[in-house]
Point group: C2
């Protein structure tokens, strides 16, 4: 046996990683504590933020800023969280779940209705900030750099990050408004256009020319994914739902179908070069309540339904008491139907409670207050930030009449992680120096942190007379 056993050496080797996870390394242990802290702290900060009138996401962002800058007070324990790949993946899952939820709460037909307006907002929201950055504030506030550097600054100002805005709309229960739908549609368009701009600018920097074929390829790829996955997905969803419900009509199957589709399309979007969250949002658009009716309702709905007398038809002479029974039964039925219709929107909530705060706390932790220590940098950054905000606010006017243009404009303001990615590419290509990079970091910080309170104030203001709140167009 000793001779033969040599052949089995690789068994032990193959098992090594498995054993490492089972044993739970030190990092795994710390991650458990971090997740507990983020989960609980986010839940504690949320009501505090809401008490002073702001959405929960602001609490989570500020918590992140606080945790991420404790090192300024000499406490460096939390610094490693922001660098941990496992926590980073949890954050990515969080924003994917958030955009899947937002997709589930958005009807595709409503989004198509505002398609023209969204395209206008998206295009202008790219064109104006890009031009401002590349041809105005860049050469003026950061003189002496090359054209390529200004082009990259423009690209960074053109970025749109929809996570923050989507969350604010959702926290305030405004996802059903025309403004929210226009911003969501424009964000999808901007994710495609952002890719194009990044490719064009990178091409100019590296080769001095732009390959039209490459740009066409990027657009074709992204459009193919978006149109293809939504058309095919919506054609398949009713059949897959019926087939899965026949196998197991339980709540867990419904949940698995929706979440697995979201993860799968996030991966597909990533393959097509788009942000995973765009894929998750598109996945949410695939499921209409109608497709999911083959699944069981939650057990409490089933049990209450069983108690109600069948059909609701009076079984004797009508009388005062009978009317009371019928009224009660009817209103109970209505409540149950309402809950059942929206069950697929709410079922992801526990997953969301767990992961979504990780994304926003981690986003807050990227805010390095030390960048604010240099007055010269801050002054330039304020100028660039002004251009960044003005550019997107102007885009809001493309939303047309009947909607609150300021809400749309501010909804496009946060640059979030997308702006940072663009700046990073510019730095890797060697066109962006440290000063410009710091300026962009501050711009991203400011646009990301200012938006939630401003949007809250705008959304709280009652709409002007004559401005419709319903679906536009």
């Amino acid at each position: 046996m000793t001779r033969r056993s040599l052949r089995l050496t690789w068994v032990g080797v193959a098992l090594l990683p498995g054993i490492a996870w089972a044993a739970g390394g030190g990092v795994v242990g710390e991650n458990l504590l971090w997740l507990a802290i983020i989960l609980m702290a986010a839940r504690l900060f949320a009501p505090l933020a809401q008490r002073i009138g702001f959405p929960a996401v602001l609490g989570e962002l500020l918590l992140g800023v606080a945790l991420g800058n404790l090192s300024l007070l000499g406490i460096s324990y939390f610094d490693t969280i922001a660098r941990d790949p496992i926590i980073a993946f949890m954050a990515e899952l969080g924003v994917i779940v958030l955009m899947l939820q937002i997709g589930l709460e958005t009807r595709l037909a409503d989004l198509v209705k505002v398609g023209g307006r969204a395209a206008g907002v998206g295009l202008i929201g790219i064109a104006i900030p890009f031009s401002l950055g590349a041809f105005v504030v860049g050469p003026w506030l950061l003189p002496g750099l090359g054209t390529n550097a200004y082009l990259f600054l423009g690209a960074t100002l053109a970025a749109t990050s929809v996570g923050i805005t989507g969350r604010v709309f959702r926290d305030l229960g405004q996802l059903g408004t025309a403004e929210a739908r226009i911003v969501l549609g424009a964000a999808v368009i901007d994710d495609v256009l952002g890719l194009v701009i990044l490719a064009v600018v990178s091409g100019l920097v590296q080769a001095g020319t732009v390959s039209l074929g490459e740009v066409g390829g990027i657009i074709a790829n992204a459009a193919l994914f978006l149109v293809g996955s939504i058309v095919i997905g919506r054609a398949l969803a009713p059949y897959s739902s019926r087939w899965l419900a026949r196998l197991d009509s339980g709540h867990s199957m419904l949940f698995a179908q929706v979440l697995a589709t979201g993860l799968f399309m996030a991966w597909l979007a990533h393959l097509a070069g788009l942000a995973p969250i765009i894929g998750a949002f598109a996945a949410g658009l695939l499921f209409e309540p109608l497709f999911l009716k083959a699944f069981d309702v939650p057990s409490i709905v089933r049990e209450v339904e069983k108690l109600l007398p069948g059909g609701g038809q009076p079984d004797g002479k009508p009388g005062a008491a009978d009317t009371r029974v019928d009224e009660l039964v009817n209103s109970l039925r209505e409540t149950l139907t309402r809950h059942t219709r929206h069950q697929h929107e709410h079922m992801l909530e526990p997953i969301g409670y767990f992961f979504v705060p990780v994304f926003f706390v981690l986003t807050g932790m990227q805010v390095d207050l030390a960048t604010l220590a240099d007055p010269a940098i801050v002054a330039v950054a304020l100028g660039v930030t002004t251009a960044a905000v003005v550019g997107k606010l102007l885009a809001g006017f493309a939303a047309g009449r009947g909607v609150r243009t300021w809400v749309v404009g501010w909804g496009m303001v946060p640059r979030g992680e997308v702006g940072l990615i663009f700046a990073m590419v510019g730095k890797q290509l060697g066109v962006m120096n440290e000063a410009m990079f710091s300026v962009i970091v501050i711009m991203v910080i400011l646009t990301t942190l200012i938006t939630p309170p401003v949007l809250t104030l705008l959304l709280r203001k009652p709409p002007h007379a004559g401005e419709s709140m319903g679906p536009a167009d």
Copy 2:
């Protein structure tokens, strides 16, 4: 500014990892696909397993075995899943959530009631398999190795992994039985005793002697964590629940409190040297429905309740119709109360649907069918496995009268990841050769895969006349 900007170089460096996660590397993308596949495949396999009469966990384990051994057919795509640290952390989270759920569904008082029996089962379930491995089957089936190797074999046979058994009991709705409580209690005791054995055997191997102080320290540490956290936790839980509910009585706060406590205590257990899942189980024991009554009920319960006439007192002359109303209202109230009382047990389910299968699929993927290719190794492994099973079945008799001893015995059989960890330590210390390691891997595979079907058959059999199903003692 160019001079000053040098000071800010580290801003970019500090942001690098953050940007890496925002950009979503290739690995992050693949992980999304893997999670989608595991989630959906587990949900598809579960009803198939249940259709042939077995718990869902068997479907997940076999799915893992299939995915993990596709490389035998030349498909090596899935091999990297088992090695990915992010998927591994998801698996760890899965078994932590599972044990937290099991803890929530277990009343501490019921566990204390079977404490004596559980201690007996735990002690004998360590002593007999250890003796069999170290002094009987080791020297007999693997002759020519040193005493230390046999001691390590004994330690491996003494291990208990409660994840598989807990899941089978839960899948079959048998967590409320005395047998389930005895197995859970014995598993907690065995986790402590397993640590002690590992320390003693390692001490003998490395120093030739055992430090009584070290052993005492391990026991004191583990006991301090278990008793301390449960006593302090249960004293604090009612106050923290009331305080948190005052801040925000929503469902999300209740969810966050329970899940964050589970993660926190998993981390504490890890610090005390115990398995994180023991901490999660202990955390589940802290929360009694009574502590959580300050939290809101789910919105559907609240809305149905609002529709019901107040107090249930007849407001007019009693009549046939009035009786009908009262009856309906009373049964509705009863349904609502039942759902509210158990809400904290069910609220983790979506998290569980997502993560728990990751653990069991990954456990299945550790099964390397190639180990079964060598008949000599397999023959020895079958002998060792028999000793492993017999040793734990004998421990079942310590459960005493009034319970199904075979159910308790088989509940202790799976060695799972704990057995692998012990074997790995032995290998790292150089006392265990490749042949013995392969034998142990096969033993772990067999005890882990055999238990779910056997336990299902035993639990399906009606209890003998005269055997009580209620709480023992």
